[in-house]
Amino acid sequence: MALVELDNITKSFSGIRALSGVNFALQAGEVHALVGENGAGKSTLMRVLGGEMRPDHGTVSINGEPVRLTGPIDAIRRGISIIHQEMALAPDLSVAENIFLGELPARIGWGELRRKARALINRLGFDIPPGALVSELSVAHQQVVEIAKALSREARVIVFDEPTAVLSMGDAQRLLDIIRNLRAEGVGIVYISHRLDEIFAISDRISVLKDGRNVDVVTPDKATVDDLIRMMVGRPLSQMFGEKPPTTIGDVLLKVTDLDLPNGVGGVSFELRKGEVVGLGGLVGSGRSEVARAIFGADPIRLGAIELHGKPFRPRNPKQAVARGVNLVPEDRKGQGIVLDMEIAKNMTMAKTGPVTTLGFFRAARERKVVDGLIQSLRVKLGHPSDPVSSLSGGNQQKIVLAKWFHSGGDVVLLDEPTRGVDVGAKTEIYSLIHRLAAEGKALLIISSEHAELFGLCDRVLVMGEGRLRGELRPDDYSEENLLTLSIGAAAQDRQEALA
């Protein structure tokens, strides 16, 4: 009998299917890996298991008994613990308090609490003082505390969501050892990771998800890394990208040499030419956004050189980048791209007010003309330009961000996930805007987790993996397999060499 069984789970978000009839079973004493591309539905499935989301259809069974999880607390009581990538610890409380948080007795006996905490941590093969503050611990030790917390709640099922993404190699190996020990104690483990070498090292079974559906369940001895990659990808290229108008690719506009950032991204060198659309691919967390943000001056640069129009360029803040004609459409539209409560028109002119102001005061007629022009040019569907941006659909909100930079008129446009959360119709329109920018002689760098999008749009695709630029794909080599092999394969090789 399975420890937990997810049967025929379907879940939609505002009409878009995230999961369609997905099955997943976990036995006691098993490590069951879950792999798939970004957006394949792994996180959604685990949210259903953790009680954070209720499925539209399908059943969750625990020990063969169908249950309706009412929320995360219910799931925890039933022995299911999820260890998220962003850890849910209280940094200013002690290790012991964190482990027993939520179950602290009304009268806390500190001595006993610490003894219990120490016992749990020792069981994991670590020695962390129970009185230490969590904020003083290394990331690896914080993760140990998270696991101890799950054990304190007598978890029968523990879900690890990308646990090694933030760990050094040695710590990652120790984590795998902990997981093996937990398995030996009969705990069921769900293991989510992009690092396929780890998956092969630790899993008993591997489930592959793609576009919200099961592809297959395999055992590691009967599959290779290549097999897995092939299963994760292979979506047909849709015809939505349109034709790129004939564009002559001209001189180098932006040249990045050995860019090195304080957040572990390094050794990044590339060029962007006039009229060129270049993709930046790789998995989430491979350092793509970090590179774009650094070139835009949003994050500091440690080492390396950037040249813009052949002149040195080292932006200390986005203002300097915009002044030199470098624009960024950020990854998080609502958090970084637009001011949601502010009027549509004001968002559009925000980045360049010179043409619509006199002595710092807005000229209403001039501004309206600019805004009307942008609305028509970008085909924004809106009620009235004085409505807040929040009244627009995701696709039209993204068009407002694009409109801002159309108006500002930079030569280098960096687009980070420009079509995330955008419906198909608006996507096609955004693609044609990207083509238009290229035809105007701008240089574009596009980051996307939808690899088909990169292949459909870009003249060439740079591939990142674990903070390094791993290579470049030309249109003849375009395949998701090649991309993932470059991104994951090269990184895995790195690690093996380092271990050997």
């Binding site: 980048a321 958090g335 970084q336 925000m350 005061f361 569907k381 009620g383 500002s408």
Partner: protein, 335 residues
Amino acid sequence: MTDDAANVGGHRATDSRAITEGRLSARRIFAQFGTFAIFIVLVLLASTQSDVFLSERNIMNVLRQMSGIGIMAIGMLFVVLTRGIDLSVGSIAALGAVSSALLIQQYPLPVAIGMVVALGAICGAISGFLVAFLRLPAFVITLAMMTAARGFALILSNGQPVMPGADGAPLSAFGTSFTFGFPNPALLMFALFAVAFLVLNYSRFGRIVKAIGSNEEAVRLSGIAVSWHVMAVYVISGALASIAGILVTARSGVGSAQVGVAAELDVIAAVVIGGASLMGGRGGVINTFIGVMILGVIGNIMNLAGVPGYHQQVYLGVIIVAAVVMQHGTSFLRR
């Protein structure tokens, strides 16, 4: 294309969006006129309680009394819009009161006033620099400035009221006389509110200040120097607090370091009654003015009705809560 043109022409794309828009605008209307409604109700209520209330003399009295709070409320509004707070305004007003009484004895009036305003602006610049560039919490920094500026005022005045003597006559003349039937301090307040209205609603600076309170990161990533704008609102607040302090000296003829004790609380109350959100991004100049007037009317009517001072404080607290609940109550319930 025809489809798009229709949408641009003011049609709503979908029904569900129309509903959200409707709810948004309902909330906006309430935020716009809720404060004004409260003010009207208060005035009507007050006029039934006392015959004196609507007399010209009483109205002018309220206006003059509230001119200092009103001027400081303008600066506070700008600070609050950026999601900040300025607790130092009362103390900077005291510094303004004392230093103006001292400086007019040595310099021509315009020079002296310029120096006093600059002094307030410098105090604001110090707080503003620490908040905007070093990312220190505004509450703590302006709390520190509150004690420091008060101490500075006490040092300058030696703890004694400063009598400017004959040199103070022109300033006193300004502070105690009327123009077009209005007390001069009230006229100055009106003028500053008018300037603030133009700046907040029609200038690049005002638009950016509001946007910073809504989404600072998006403003920064649009290539705008957020820190300078944040610092600037504290400079404005400090300069306006100084002017409020000068007005006290002008009205009373004495520069005292005891001016404006706990005034920051009245100022914040006025801004909040005016519907500004301490979470930033929301608030208007006209509503802030009405907020100031509401505060003034409440105090005035309780005086006229003979409510004892200690009781007044309790009622004031209750009324502030009631005013804020009336403005925000429905949105709280919805969440």
